[in-house]
């Protein structure tokens, strides 16, 4: 008799608190809450046939942990990867980046570097042209020793603020005719987390990071990234795509203080 109203009360309480702990596999697992906050609780499909995530099992340098996302759809598959969201569950700002893949660029691989603060899962969630979400994950141990996710030399990346570099790599086993290209964009930026407190003023330094990066071949979008403070300082994106024969490669980055950094390079159409 008492059961029913009491139960409703408890359920209402749980709803107010967010994720019902009793329903989560592990009450300390932040993932269900992140699915709600970042993906609006949309259903997550198994993504192991769709994308792969590669990270070292241990974050050797907490400030610079390499991560590679790779699409696995077969050429026969009519679906396309529209975007990939990278989530580092235990970081202060878990949503590390959201990559939009250019509709005609056939991006097949994206590598970047992230900060890893703690032991935990790193999730990659791909949204396909079928409108569904596909998730894969990997577990990364935090670094040992005195490695920290903060800048090593606090002034260094300020000195190269806004410098941009483009590099094209030789793609092993691919002749120039294939059109497949591998390239890298580097941006000098502290990508400061803002989580450090000034001992004298007891105030936190404001966060200062690249929040948007867009890349084009001529006027066709290749890749864009919406980024956060979990991206390492001097953001670095290395990616594989298919050239449309463009003569120019263009990058535009914006940061949280409203700086806009733009550059353009001639592409090397020999494929190397």
């Amino acid at each position: 008799m008492l059961g029913s109203p009491l139960r409703s009360f408890v359920v209402a309480g749980l709803l107010l608190l967010g994720t019902p702990p009793a329903l989560a596999a592990d009450a300390n697992d932040p993932w269900p809450g992140l699915v709600q906050d970042i993906f609006n609780n949309r259903p997550m499909n198994d993504g192991s046939d769709v994308i792969a995530i590669e990270m070292p099992g241990r974050a050797e340098d907490a400030a610079i942990v390499p991560v590679t996302l790779r699409t696995k759809l077969s050429p026969a598959d009519s679906r396309q990867v529209r975007n990939i969201t990278l989530v580092i569950d235990q970081n202060p700002a878990p949503m590390a980046a959201k990559f939009q893949l250019g509709p005609d660029a056939r991006v097949s691989e994206i590598s970047t570097r992230v900060r890893v603060n703690n032991y935990g899962d790193v999730h990659a969630v791909a949204e396909l042209s079928d409108g569904q979400l596909y998730m894969v994950k990997t577990y990364v141990k935090a670094s040992g020793g005195c490695s920290a996710p903060a800048a090593k030399v606090a002034d260094e990346s300020k000195n190269r603020l806004g410098q941009m570099r483009y590099r094209q790599f030789e793609k092993a086993g691919e002749g120039p005719a294939s059109g497949t290209r591998e390239a890298q964009i580097m941006i000098g930026h502290p990508n400061n987390s803002g989580l450090q407190m000034d001992q004298v003023t007891q105030l936190y330094t404001p966060a200062f990071f690249v929040n948007e990066l867009r890349l084009w071949q001529d006027d066709s979008p290749v890749l864009s990234m919406e980024g956060g403070i979990s991206i390492s300082e001097d953001p670095n994106i290395r990616f594989t795509y298919v050239s449309n024969g463009a003569k120019r490669f263009r990058a535009e980055a914006k940061d949280t203080e409203g700086h806009v950094f733009e550059r353009e390079w001639k592409t090397d159409n020999s494929g190397t």
């Binding site: 590669e54 070292p56 050797e60 340098d61 400030a63 610079i64 390499p66 590679t68 590598s111 570097r113 603060n117 703690n118 032991y119 935090a142 670094s143 040992g144 020793g145 005195c146 490695s147 920290a148 996710p149 903060a150 800048a151 090593k152 030399v153 606090a154 002034d155 260094e156 190269r160 570099r165 590099r167 790599f169 030789e170 580097m186 000098g188 450090q196 407190m197 000034d198 001992q199 004298v200 390492s232 001097d234 670095n236 290395r238």
Partner: protein, 306 residues
């Protein structure tokens, strides 16, 4: 049988740990007139070793004492304090931190009292502000609540840029702040009387050097370091050694690392392959697999901007 042996070993380890916890004085050796050093174990900081992995020491002048680094826990700091008090009642005027890493500063809390001045590189307060909380959280995992609960981050109030001379009473010490090398808050202490150099982690022996600053900066400081008129060095890790011969291993490691990483960058290899650099050094160092990939990753992210 194997199980019995394992239990016996575990019991012995716990007995050793308990004995260490109860030991009141940190073992120190007199390495020169008025200079005492505790040589840390070459290991990661753990619950079992009290975080006592770095070399710490003190210098006695006619009037006062200077402590150089305080160790990896307040417990170690207290034991260092007990070792000092077993030898002298002179006031501890200075606590000098050679940089901001936990194995060198977590013992600071044991020395906080009126009349004691904490001294460090001008960048050290910023480093501790950026990393202090992270370090406490990270080392709680490996050292446990009991050791970490009492650790306080104590930033320096006497800051050094360039050089600074301190006097302990007919005992001048020359402190020098370096540009980013092992870290971005490296400070050395030179005792003019005995020509002893406390190099902090600018010098490693036996323990794989750890890069948390700038590889190019570190390589750039080596000649200037080597030119200091010291007879012996107290490195941050490893045995007290003759100067400047003590620099040779570290110089070779850092040069090999930089050169191998340059090769990887030049040939277009991704940063995930950085750990292959300096493989030829593996047999020459302890804790190589704990630190080399990390060093190489950091070096890669710096050298790719050349």
């Amino acid at each position: 049988m194997a199980r019995v042996a394992w239990i016996a070993a575990a019991l012995m380890m716990s007995v050793t740990a308990t004995a260490r916890a109860q030991q009141r004085e940190l073992p120190v050796t007199s390495i020169a007139d008025g200079i005492f050093v505790h040589t840390g174990v070459t290991a990661q900081m753990t619950r079992e070793n009290d975080g006592a992995i770095a070399n710490v020491g003190f210098i006695e002048g006619d009037d006062a004492i200077a402590v150089i680094d305080t160790g990896g826990s307040v417990r170690e700091g207290r034991q260092l304090l007990a070792a000092i008090r077993a030898r002298t009642n002179k006031p501890i005027r200075y606590v000098i931190n050679t940089h901001g890493h936990p194995d060198h500063v977590f013992g600071n809390g044991a020395f906080v009292q009126d009349g004691t001045i904490f001294v460090g590189h001008t960048n050290l307060p910023r480093t501790l502000a950026a990393r202090g909380k992270f370090y406490l959280d990270a080392f709680r995992r490996t050292m446990g609540d009991e050791l970490i609960d009492e650790v306080r981050i104590v930033p320096p109030t006497l800051l050094v840029s360039g050089t600074l001379k301190l006097d302990l009473g007919r005992r001048p010490l020359v402190l020098r702040a370096w540009s980013a090398a092992h870290s971005d808050s490296d400070l050395t202490v030179f005792d003019e009387k005995t020509k002893t150099l406390f190099a902090g982690d600018l010098v490693f022996l036996a323990h794989t050097p750890v890069l948390d600053g700038s590889i190019r900066g570190w390589l750039g400081t080596l000649d200037e370091l080597a030119a200091l008129p010291a007879q012996r060095v107290v490195p941050g890790h490893g045995p007290v050694s003759e100067w400047p011969a003590a620099l040779a291993d570290e110089r070779r490691y850092l040069q090999t690392l930089a050169s191998d990483v340059r090769g990887l960058v030049k040939s277009g290899k991704p940063i995930a392959t950085a750990g292959t650099a300096a493989g030829s050094e593996r047999s020459r160092w302890e804790l190589f697999d704990d630190f080399n990939t990390r060093n190489a990753t950091a070096a890669f992210s710096e050298i790719e901007w050349e």
